[in-house]
Amino acid sequence: MSSIFTILISTILVNNYVFAKFLGICPFLGVSGKMETATGMGVAVTFVTTLAGIVTYILQKYVLDSLGLGYLQTIVFILVIASLVQFVEMAIKKMSPTLYNALGVYLPLITTNCIVLGVSILNIQEGYTLIETITSSVGAALGFFLALVLMAGLREKLELADIPEALEGFPITLIATGLMSIAFSGFAGLV
């Protein structure tokens, strides 16, 4: 039980995938402009990462490992995640148009996003069990969600701030990201 809690804290705060591992920077910069899109993207990533974590774990354990084909990991995972996202998108579109309207735009964007792939591969490398894999995936996605929402809040304020012209837009966003990353390194002693 304690290991699960440790994994959760570790992936959300200490080893935050955006601020410590620098994965998922593209959607992080792309959709952090508004709080509304940031939450939509955050929920979509949480959903897909968790699903992808479970499916890739099962595939790795029962297909790749048992056949001794561990070196196919990356290509198989990309294939799986891409198909999974497509499948989920179709299923949601049919079953829950409301959810599709909320998540639909973001789902194709994260098809083979590096954070989804990165979490799946790192879970295997850490040698997690299924429960730990789920925890780690949820934690990683929540960490991304947190980073995205914090950044969106910051950028909404930045828009009103008096910034030197050369730094407007992405430069100041990247500087803010770097500072937040330094701040997050303060969590290092937690776990």
Binding site: G40, V63, I75, L79, V80, A91, K94, D162
Partner: protein, 272 residues
Amino acid sequence: MTDIINPVLVLGSLAAAFGVILAIASKVFFVPTDPKVAQLQNVLPGANCGACGYPGCSGLANALAAGKAPVNACSIGGQKVADLVADILGADSADIDKEVAVVLCQGDCDKAKDKYIYEGIQDCRISDKLSDGQKSCSYGCLGCGTCRDVCQFDAIDMINGIAYIDREKCTACRKCVEVCPKHIIEMVPYDNHVAVKCKSEDPGKVVRGNCEIGCIGCKICVKNCPEDAFSFENNLAKINYEKCTNCLVCVEKCPTKCINLMVEEESDNIAI
């Protein structure tokens, strides 16, 4: 030999399995969509910028097909895209009433009183935070020009502390409507020429103290309108644009001149 065959077989069968699953899923989860949506999506810029207020171009394509968005909703594509969209949607959509944004306040620096002198950042959203802005009237235009700054079509001018919108340049993108912290910019039909240019819900006496040109709630317009197009709520006269025939009786009768033409120079063009 198995070193080559095994991975090829495994990867190939996995890919084939996923392919079959997706193919079945696309049949099982098939959702009939309006063919117009796909066509619309092709003519839209595909930038997914969200300037139209819908989540990306596909969101706008859906709204267009459902008739919820005006054909010129895409402010990036401009007239070119609007024409293509109108083509796809057919003749019926050409009848969609064109709208323009209008600033419903005329209390400029001479006509409205100030509570204090504001010297902070020139952004209405910020000045609004300081006890509802520098104007004595808490409903009026703050004049910092935030709407002018968000307008991508150069349609808004600040004249003597009040925003004015050029009807011809306005593309009804609603950016200014959304950004105005006082919510005094509204969309009105292009064919109508009259607007109650005041949003103050204060009682008449208070309005008169704050501003020379506000709606004091005298109801003269309600009584005199031959088409019965005026209603009165929250101390404000309101025009029902479906009934208004541009007869301009209200403009003549309004004692404070707060009911006014949308643009002054236009008076020559209107047949009275």
